[in-house]
Symmetry: C2
């Protein structure tokens, strides 16, 4: 017996969410069928309202609501720091550390030729203009410690050094090493090798 | 930095899906932000359309689309079999086995006093009326092999036997035993004990 057509549509659209396979999508769909009409309408309205209520800041690319970009305020501008990120979500993660109070720049992705994301998609012109005009002391590259993150970081260094070095702006990248609370038994070899070669005076 | 208000709304509504915690809901939400406007509108329309396009059959409680209930057709009615299920989804699982061609009756849940689902919620009046009027040979109880499933099955037997026995209708329950492809090393003790006590002549 085939599922009713509309149920197949519900399952199909839910499967487009990240990490949701057919089994989870079916589970979600059968749950939605039991929701009250007003809750379904609320969900529909919230989803439909995304383009109207959530934007990317024209300047830094961070995710903002209906307000001015809180990541581009004057206090951050005058800090002299600019942190380069892959996605808008990373800005919230860095903010949560309370260790950083500078500006951000969101690239929108990492170089990954197999996924069709080449260096041109990083749209570095916008970033280069910012680097030339902002009063900077340090650029912090905060990208994943993956092959794509490493590739993008190296590419950025090559592209940005000609602008940053003459201005006396330093570049840094997030440290690699043992995650907090990890035991050496369980840490993978790559992490351990990197932690060893980056060992610090104690 | 707090997430924009609308993003919090998106995360909050997605968290109401079964098995979705805050981390998954955030992941879904950040993905939805990247969707095109027309895809978001399509999703909203599909969700909003659930009450109009998906119904429960008034007779058997199975899930149906805009058509007549395919689970209540005359060929199934004359088979003499009625299968009692907890949820509409189970009917599709049983259909997929191609081993059963009779009618269904969906209870809508299993007795679970801790979750506020007492025996009165099974609405047995409807089922009793069907059992008295349908031409039956056998009633198949197809409920979970859990505490709630066992409780509900025993309660059904006590309630329905006075109707079924005088009519000469037999009652059966799904077999318990080793799942297909399982190795004895990995099967839990309860399953093994049940498989042993229900052993069949070979």
């Amino acid at each position: 017996m085939r599922y009713p057509t509309h149920l197949l549509k519900v399952i199909d659209i839910l499967r487009r969410l990240p990490g949701v396979g057919s089994k989870s999508a079916e589970r979600f769909a059968f749950q939605l069928i039991n929701w009250k009409k007003e809750h379904l309408e609320e969900m529909a309205a919230i989803i439909q309202g995304i383009p109207a209520h959530l934007h990317h800041c024209q300047e830094c690319g961070c995710l903002i609501g209906d307000t001015l970009c809180p990541f581009c305020v004057e206090a951050r501008r005058s800090s002299g720091f600019l942190c380069i990120l892959a996605s808008p979500r990373d800005a919230f993660a860095i903010e949560d550390t309370h260790e950083y109070h500078g500006l951000y720049h969101v690239l929108g992705g990492l170089i990954s030729p197999l996924d069709g994301f080449g260096p041109e998609k990083l749209q570095l012109e916008k970033l280069k203009t910012r680097l030339k005009t902002l009063p900077l002391k340090e650029v912090v590259i905060a990208l994943d410690s993956t092959l794509e993150g490493d590739t993008t970081a190296l590419y950025l260094k090559k592209e940005l050094d000609p602008i940053l070095i003459p201005q006396g702006v330093s570049t840094s990248r997030l440290a690699f090493g043992l995650p907090m609370g990890s035991s050496l038994d369980y840490v993978d070899g790559g992490t351990l090798a990197r932690a060893l070669s980056s060992r610090a005076k104690f």
